[in-house]
């Protein structure tokens, strides 16, 4: 069934279809409608779930950790400062190997106070052990929530579904809501092997000496490597059931492209539009949309960028005193595999719009240079 909905509600429908059993969340703009709708769905008894009101995001994640430890499918959603407040427990959820799924609506970090989009909030949680999946449409948001539980529960690692504030969260578009029966078949009930059970007591997360701590970490890393295999494996399975294909990366006209833009989120969607216009002018430009940040898709990135003569990474984020964060990631993957010059542009921070013209200007600047003469370039900023 098709329905016009905002991105925030696409998350709510995804969580409902996934039959989440515990929802704990604290409201924050631009995430608020996610839990508003979920609370209505639970109150109307259309979803059999516990809706736990909490006093902070830290508590929201703590409640999800407790619920997931008991074997429930747990869900939360947040943004920016809320995600930052969860930081300690993000490590805990991943370290405890709990398949929690969370939606983070990208909102720039304060100060100065802001509610608009950029990716610094989620990207700065890169090393917590959460998978991160960046979406470009409301359909992808709904579908990704369902797929996320499938992968999370296979490898026992949590997943963060990431989408832009407003340009997805508050944007209405037509979304296909899959049949519940199909979702149930694709995503059966979760039977957690290690769940808390008073009849079979265990110790969880206890003091671990240097003799064993590292082995826990190796297992987490291996689980993430396996997660990459599972994401690749799920793509055609999901497509067969629901007709939509989601890979780790989303290439558009990269095969014969001399210059490839590397983008993510809704900025990637606009980049695809820009590529069509640039192609019409005869410019051999392509776009590689990064969808999965963790586990990082090394092989796919190297494969998709192997024919490029120039690579342009457009970051809607910044690691102060370094590069954009996607640029670090992609450059690191290419090191030793490619001699192609890589340009890094920082654009659209704090919700500043990224227009097709933004890309035309970037391409025009790069056309004049054989290789970058700066570590990074700021786009469309006031002097």
């Amino acid at each position: 069934m098709k329905k016009v909905m905002m991105g925030n509600h696409a998350i709510s429908y995804g969580a409902t279809l996934a039959r989440v059993q515990v929802i704990a969340a604290y409201p924050i703009t631009p995430q608020t409608q996610v839990v508003e709708l979920l609370s209505e769905i639970v109150a109307d008894q259309k979803l059999k779930a516990e809706f736990i009101k909490v006093e902070s995001e830290h508590s929201a994640m703590a409640a999800c950790i407790g619920a997931s430890s008991a074997g429930a499918r747990a869900f939360t959603a947040t943004s920016a400062q809320g995600l930052a407040l969860m930081h300690e427990l993000l490590h805990w959820a991943a370290g405890a190997r709990l398949p929690i799924v969370m939606a983070n609506i990208n909102r720039a970090m304060a100060p100065p106070w802001t509610i608009w989009t950029d990716q610094n909030d989620s990207l700065s949680q890169r090393d917590t052990g959460w998978m991160q999946i960046y979406c470009q449409s409301n359909q992808e948001v709904l579908d990704s929530v369902i797929m996320a539980y499938k992968v999370a529960e296979k490898v026992l690692m949590p997943v963060m579904i990431v989408l832009d504030a407003f340009s997805l969260s508050h944007t209405y578009e037509s979304v296909d809501i899959p049949d519940q029966a199909l979702v149930d078949k694709y995503l059966p009930a979760f039977d957690y092997k290690y769940k808390l059970d008073v009849k079979n007591p265990h110790t969880y997360g206890g003091l671990t000496t240097p003799d064993w701590y590292m082995e826990f970490r190796i297992k987490m890393h291996e689980a993430m490597e396996q997660a990459l295999v599972e994401i690749k494996k799920e793509a055609p399975v999901f497509q067969k059931v629901f007709g939509r294909f989601y890979d780790t990366v989303d290439p558009y006209m990269v095969d014969d492209a001399e210059t490839v833009l590397v983008t993510s989120g809704t900025a990637a969607s606009t980049a695809r539009f820009a590529v069509d216009q640039l192609r019409a002018e005869g410019k051999k430009v392509g776009n590689l949309r990064m969808r999965v940040l963790r586990p990082f898709p090394f092989a796919d990135v190297r494969q998709q960028l192997k024919n490029a003569k120039k690579i342009i990474i457009v970051d809607r984020d910044i690691s102060y005193g370094y590069h954009g964060i996607w640029a670090q990631e992609v450059k690191s993957a290419l090191y030793g595999h490619s001699q192609v010059p890589v340009f890094n542009f920082i654009a659209g921070l704090g919700g500043r719009d990224i227009f097709p013209e933004t890309y035309y200007n970037i391409i025009a600047l790069v056309e004049k240079k054989d290789k970058p003469d700066q570590e990074l370039y700021w786009v469309e900023v006031k002097k």
Binding site: V4, A165, T171, Y172, S174, S269, D276, I354, F355
Partner: protein, 184 residues
């Protein structure tokens, strides 16, 4: 692709109008994207909403800077802001007003003005209060009269499904607005 900008004031249902129009267009199997001006809206403050309509998937996701058409939900905005900013030559301006389109010639010769008295229609159908009528469904009824991207039947159906209360009154307001557009 058609790109339209709505001008209204917080509390008039301008953003919901965009959503309902998106729903109606979607019923006709077209692609659509509707979004508000991303900000902190307050009751009475000028608000914007935008809609893109196309026969193929819409990938551009930046704000609409150069709209083809403009819909003015609150005519008092005409004196407060430039509702024609960025409006493309030949664009249509649909205004909620009891006045004749000829009285809006100051908006420029490059555009074609239509009016519909959505306030009066909304008040007579008891939508909102006399002081603050909710005019969005009446304005939407005028849309299929001047644009060919959506039919009245789709608008009426989406209005019925999209309003929280009084579906019959809202649908009747849309129908009446369709019949009373001036300037066609």
């Amino acid at each position: 692709m058609v790109e339209i900008r709505f001008h209204g004031r917080g509390g008039q249902g301008t953003v919901i109008a965009g959503k309902i129009l998106a729903d109606a267009v979607s019923k006709e199997d077209k692609y659509v994207q509707a979004f508000p001006q991303f900000g902190v809206e307050r009751r009475g403050a000028p608000v914007f909403a935008f809609i893109r309509i196309d026969e193929k998937p819409i990938y551009i996701r930046s704000k609409i800077v150069l709209p083809q058409h403009v819909i003015v939900v609150d005519p008092s905005l005409i004196d407060a802001i430039d509702v024609t900013e960025g409006l493309k030559k030949g664009g249509f301006i649909l205004i909620n007003s009891s006045r004749h389109p000829d009285e809006f010639q100051n908006l420029g010769k490059d555009f074609r003005v239509f009016t519909v008295d959505a306030n009066d229609i909304a008040i007579r159908h008891r939508l909102g209060s006399k002081a603050a009528p909710i005019v969005n469904t009446a304005i939407l009824g005028a849309v299929p009269r001047i644009f060919d991207f959506v039919k009245l039947a789709s608008i009426v159906q989406s209005v019925r499904e999209g309003v929280p209360v009084n579906p019959d009154e809202n649908a009747a307001a849309a129908q009446e607005a369709y019949d009373s557009v001036i300037g066609v």
